[in-house]
Symmetry: C2
Subunit: 363 residues, 2 copies
């Protein structure tokens, strides 16, 4: 069975505690406010939510994005913002302009799987550490999979170095302490491709994100967005736009950070207790812990075997190889998401992992 | 002012009768049914509509697409269907697999602007008529901009010829008589990239369409969809899926065809009366008339000048050059959409075009 099939099998079985997937907490979805927004949209005689819009998306939502970036020190106008189908489409559009087969993009040794897969599909060379690069993909604020906060020195280096930057802020607003750094585009406006999203904070199912390209390329990126899918969902844009206009987004973020920080603490404690052979960095934000062990396996698909064993014992996770630039180095890793499970399931999940790990080591 | 700016100016001015844009009739949006669907989605404890889903999209909607194609004679399983952000994304994904810079794609001399622009962005050679080609882009059923029904002999040739086909059925269900041909993929399953959408029939703002690639490429296309935008809007998929499960889609199509056929007739009559110098083919379906005149202009941007004059006289349209493989051939053309205007505006629009045309000829 392929890794993909294995992951799907675990997700389909409700008796399996799912600690993979990077999904937001269902409890945080603002259903009532979105229902109000939907009603208002249906009351509009022109039913704009159901109709075509321009490729770059609705003015009001672009203005919100721009104003928020201005509030953080960046010189951004609504005309510079292109609404996208989540952060992923922002990254994908940036790639169309920055990367050719053979180009070198610098990434962290462990990074966001869909970005890594995108780069590989485009036959781009993944450069780690000090290897030469044509551009840099960086998860700023909070990274994935570690949930670490950005290092100020590394950020200063990025600004000094002068390379084009794809800056992915998908998790930035979910720093548990609400410390959101000055956006990199504030200091490198003409070579930063700024990517943001409400997928982690409001709803991923609405697929609403944004891309702020270098100013001289906005027109061309808008045309690329147009030929990709004409525009993002008007309905989703309108629901998000109205939520932001009528609700207190920052208060919503405070609630979200508090819930995720608590769940992070519950899972960290449970993992320390039940899986002492696995080490991880205490996360500063985000949805997950990234766990590594020194256990060396000769098996090239050890990762898959470990997930199979765990699923058999009623718990699933995101295999570490998905995040690794050089997967299969021999030591095992996994991402455990605390975001979408309650305390009881987090603790029970860690216990099942302990049983599974013992079974795996014996096999 | 650029053509794009001119088009936007006309659209933003409510005193201008907009006969461009290819938008569905607001009256046909199924607001009540979608409101029921939204409520049901918010009542789901898991709130699946707001959460992540798999790259290929929801099972129920893929099964509906597959069943409908099976009902038309094609051997299609839900696993072969990938939900996309409208037909445009289906075409765009197909291009990733079929075309490289320098590839030759056969298109009609006048075709769908966003497909032509996509091909040009990818540095693909547009081949018309009997010129050699590596693949064919065809709007099957009803084409754009003419609203003509597919020619059975041309379809038979396409099947015989053996080239890969991107088959765009975006307008197919809006043949005024409801004559929907056997899908081309029924007879060339392994080289047809079948593209469909509910954008014209239910709502473009939901961005819900589908791609049925050749069976041996489904897995790779699913990965390409994943790196493009992870997945299409779960919310939109769920609204459409529930609409199709609880409402009578075919009865909805009958109402839509009837409205559009009547509006086509009103606009055709008005154009024949007020713009006798412009010729057009009586449409068999779709949203628009494509009008051409023998008037030759030396001006390379005559098209733009003509739109500017018309907008000044309170009416706007889609400039013909957008649809032409070789724009600026010297004779003027325009697409007039009857889809989103009521009878009064259609007639008044034609009258304003007459005044504008006289002014244009004098200038």
């Amino acid at each position: 069975m392929s890794l993909d099939a294995l992951v799907r099998e675990g997700a389909a079985d409700s008796s399996v505690i799912m600690l993979g997937g990077g999904m937001p907490a269902t409890e945080l979805f603002p259903r009532a406010a979105l229902t109000d927004a939907f009603r208002a949209a249906m009351d509009d005689p022109a039913a704009a939510a159901l109709q075509y819009d321009w490729p770059e998306g609705r003015h009001g939502l672009r203005e919100w994005v721009a104003a928020r970036l201005r509030g953080r020190g960046a010189d951004v106008d609504h005309n510079a913002v292109i609404l996208t189908a989540g952060a992923q489409q922002g990254i994908s559009l940036a790639c169309q302009f920055l990367l050719r087969p053979g180009s070198r993009v610098r990434v962290s040794a462990e990074s966001y799987p869909a970005a890594l897969e995108l780069f590989r599909q485009r036959e781009v060379v993944l450069a780690v550490g000090t290897a030469p690069a044509d551009c840099v993909y960086v998860m700023d604020g909070i990274d994935n999979p570690y949930g670490s906060a950005s290092d100020p020195d590394a950020r200063a280096d990025l600004i000094r170095e002068g390379l084009p930057l794809i800056v992915d802020e998908a998790y930035a607003e979910l720093d548990f302490e609400g410390r959101i750094p000055r956006p990199l585009l504030a200091d490198a406006r003409d070579r930063v491709w700024h990517v943001g999203s409400v997928s982690k904070t409001l709803s991923p199912g609405l697929r609403t994100g944004w891309l702020v390209p270098p100013p001289h390329l906005v027109g061309r990126v808008r045309r690329a967005k147009f030929t990709t899918d004409l525009q993002s969902s008007t309905m989703s844009q309108l629901l998000v736009e109205r939520f932001l206009a009528t609700e207190d987004y920052d208060a919503h973020l405070v609630r979200a950070r508090s819930l995720y920080a608590r769940r992070a603490s519950v899972l960290s404690t449970a993992v320390r207790r039940h899986l002492p052979e696995w080490r991880f960095l205490e996360p500063a934000g985000g949805f997950a812990l990234f766990l590594q062990t020194d256990h060396v396996s000769e098996h090239p698909t050890a990762d898959q075997e470990w997930l199979r064993t765990a699923t058999h014992h009623g718990v699933a996770f995101d295999p570490g190889s998905l995040f690794q630039v050089q997967p299969g180095s021999g030591t095992l890793a996994m991402r455990l998401c605390f975001s979408a499970a309650d305390d009881e399931h987090l603790i029970e999940g860690a216990k099942r992992l302990r049983t599974a790990w013992r079974a795996y080591l014996k096999a």
